[in-house]
């Protein structure tokens, strides 16, 4: 045991001395490894950001996992009048905090250049978190907004542009035209999606239904109010069954009730990014292989210059196993150092604001921390490459004849 400890520490010291003394040569040979580790770690790290961007984009449109959608209509096409009470009861019974009614409608808005129908979505306050809605200006609906006499509206950036981009601190208003016109206060602005060209807005569902009866416009494909819930994935299937049973039971056989899960992850089997990860992994592996080949090449060339040193060490009691281990450790110590440098560089690259903005394309609100698995992967790759690249020189070193080496 004592011999093992001193052998291990001794080999690491020898390896470190070698790396320190030949630092220029080592640095040159390790540039390839450091770059490869940086590349592989960066790619994995950026992959996590890109994945988060895609996830958030999906969650904005379809809700987070698991989002349940409940719709109910009478067989004659009318909306069941008992639904508000049934909805409240269901939320209380199953203790669901994140739930929202969703009312898609069209509301005419008076702009300076005329009245324009604006796509309007009536929601409850939790909808903002459920769909990761980010605002350019202002804040999402709060409970206090329910008590406003002049309803609060959150408008998209196109709407805001048409208003002349007023400062929200001045409490800008807009006129909603209906059976009776209503003045609404703009409390926030959200970015328009890339394909959007028309003004759109959110209102609180209660405020929306208070100012105007919901118009079901078949041309705009708006449907009756639907109900959305964000629940834990593991109980989502049970909740689907329970809600279906409860609502159907409350409305009777004259109603059609549908409860289903519609978030992005419910349509996917396995890891949706597996093919992307495998492609990226293969490319990074190739880069690493090239770095390793360069390392082996330089290690073999420099070993020729070190034969005398190996002979001297053997004359002072270094066993063949010790020489093997020391030469291999040189490679491992060096590549681990290169790996650390590569990982640090990768972290700096991935977490730089410029790269984050470029990769996320404004779609990420919760930037993931630098993935630990990417850093570990980089270091493991560096160590494995070091061990493999050190294997051949180590085998050559062991075959050195001591007598010839000393005279070399």
């Amino acid at each position: 045991m004592k011999r093992f400890a001193s052998n291990l520490v001794g080999a690491v010291i020898e390896a470190w001395q070698e790396v320190r003394i030949h630092k220029t040569r080592v640095m040159l040979s390790l540039i390839g490894v450091a770059v490869a580790v940086c590349a592989i770690t960066t790619v994995v790290g950026l992959g996590a950001v890109a994945q988060q961007a895609t996830v958030e984009q999906n969650e904005r449109s379809g809700g987070r996992a698991a989002s349940l959608y409940l719709s109910a209509s009478m067989n004659d096409g009318s909306t069941p009048t008992e639904m508000p009470e049934i909805w409240r009861t269901a939320l209380e019974r199953y203790k669901i905090d994140y739930a929202s009614r969703v009312v898609n409608t069209s509301q005419t808005v008076q702009f300076a250049d005329g009245a324009v129908p604006v796509q309007t979505i009536g929601v409850d306050p939790p909808y903002g978190i459920m769909h990761r809605i980010t605002l350019e200006e202002g804040t999402w609906f709060a409970a206090a907004d329910q008590r406003r006499l002049a309803p609060a509206v959150l408008i998209n950036s196109i709407f805001w542009d048409r208003l002349g981009r007023p400062d929200l601190r001045t409490h800008p208003t807009t006129t909603l035209i209906g059976e009776r016109s209503t003045t609404a206060v703009v409390t926030g602005v959200y970015p328009a999606l890339s394909y959007e060209t028309e003004p759109a807005m959110y209102m609180l569902a209660d405020a929306l239904t208070a100012i105007t009866p919901v118009v079901i416009d078949p041309n705009l494909q708006f449907g009756p109010p639907s109900y959305e819930l964000w629940v834990p994935v593991k109980i989502s299937e049970q909740l689907v069954t329970a809600l279906q049973r409860d609502v159907q039971g409350a409305l009777g056989s004259e109603a059609t009730v549908q409860v289903n899960r519609q978030d992005y992850s419910s349509f996917q089997d396995g890891d949706p990014y597996l093919s992307l990860k495998l492609t990226v992994g293969a490319i990074a592996g190739l880069v690493l292989l090239l770095g390793a080949l360069g390392l082996v090449n330089i290690a073999l060339v420099t070993l020729k210059q070190r034969i005398r040193e190996i002979g001297i060490r053997r004359s002072f009691g270094a066993t063949a196993a010790r020489v093997f281990f020391a030469v291999m450790m040189e490679s491992v110590v060096a590549t681990v150092v290169a790996g650390i440098v590569g990982v640090i560089a990768a972290v700096l690259i991935v977490k730089s604001p410029f790269v984050e903005d470029f990769i996320s394309q404004g779609q990420v609100t919760d930037f993931p921390p630098f993935p630990v698995e990417a850093a570990v992967l980089g270091l493991v790759c560096a160590t494995v490459v070091g061990a493999l690249a050190g294997l051949i020189p180590a085998l050559v070193a062991v075959r050195v004849k001591v007598i010839d080496a000393i005279r070399y």
């Binding site: 004592k2 011999r3 001193s6 520490v9 001794g10 010291i13 020898e14 001395q17 003394i21 030949h22 005398r308 040193e309 001297i312 060490r313 053997r314 004359s315 002072f316 009691g317 270094a318 066993t319 063949a320 196993a321 010790r322 001591v402 007598i403 000393i406």
Partner: protein
């Protein structure tokens, strides 16, 4: 006490398309603890091959070789390496210091293959022995910053740092001027005497050989006693 015993040792090498070449033939030699042995011979007479055998760097083709009554041939490669590291100190003609390492690091090198106190306290032990050879103020000097005499003193310190019982010196003054060579040999004699180690010196120089108490000549692979000075 016999430290090293060689009896009928031969060393031959196989040549391609030629009959085997006999380098050493029927060598008989006993080295006692504290012995002073010199071996002289012309170039190509087999001196270095004999030194390699004595230093456990090579194996005899035939014959018996015992180190402290243990048959060297029966030892595993690793055991022989460890025995060499523990019991044998080499002093080379060309010093063979490790370039890029300081004097202290060079002297610490053999201790990297030791265990226990020698390993963990290697810096202190190496410093002490460098001070002993008069290089206490050159611990951090690189070999190319040292004179030939200083380099050989570092090599001597390195050979002695593990307290070997056998010191093998291969032309230890061959790369030094006469005066420095004398000083270095005085030092080797002194530290060998202090430590009680046997000293086997291989040399061309009759004045260096004359310092030993037992003198041998190697001629065409055959070792002959030339004289023995009573201790």
């Amino acid at each position: 006490m016999t430290l090293l015993h060689l009896e009928g040792v031969t060393r031959t090498v196989q040549l391609i398309d030629a009959p085997p070449l006999t380098i050493l033939s029927g060598v008989d030699l006993d080295v006692e603890v504290g012995d002073r042995v010199s071996i002289v011979g012309r170039s190509g007479s087999g001196k270095t091959t004999l030194l390699n055998l004595l230093g456990l760097l090579d194996n005899p083709t035939s014959g018996a070789m015992l180190f402290e009554d243990r048959a060297v041939g029966s030892l595993s490669s690793g055991a022989r390496d460890r025995l060499r590291g523990r019991e044998v100190g080499f002093i080379f003609q060309q010093f063979n210091l490790l370039q890029g390492r300081t004097a202290l690091e060079n002297v610490m090198t053999p201790l990297l293959y030791a265990e226990g106190r020698q390993f963990w306290q290697r810096a202190r032990i190496a410093t002490e022995i460098l001070e002993r050879v008069g290089l206490g103020d050159r611990l951090g000097s690189l070999p190319d910053r040292l004179s030939g005499g200083e380099q050989q003193r570092v090599a001597i310190a390195r050979a002695l740092v593990r307290g070997p019982r056998l010191i093998l010196a291969d032309e230890p003054t061959g790369a030094l001027d006469l005066e420095t060579g004398e000083t270095v040999m005085d030092l080797i004699d002194e530290v060998a005497t202090e430590s009680g180690a046997a000293l086997v010196t291989i040399t061309h120089d009759p004045s260096i050989a004359a310092r030993a108490t037992r003198h041998f000549r190697l001629d065409h692979g055959v070792l002959q006693v030339t004289s023995t000075v009573p201790a």
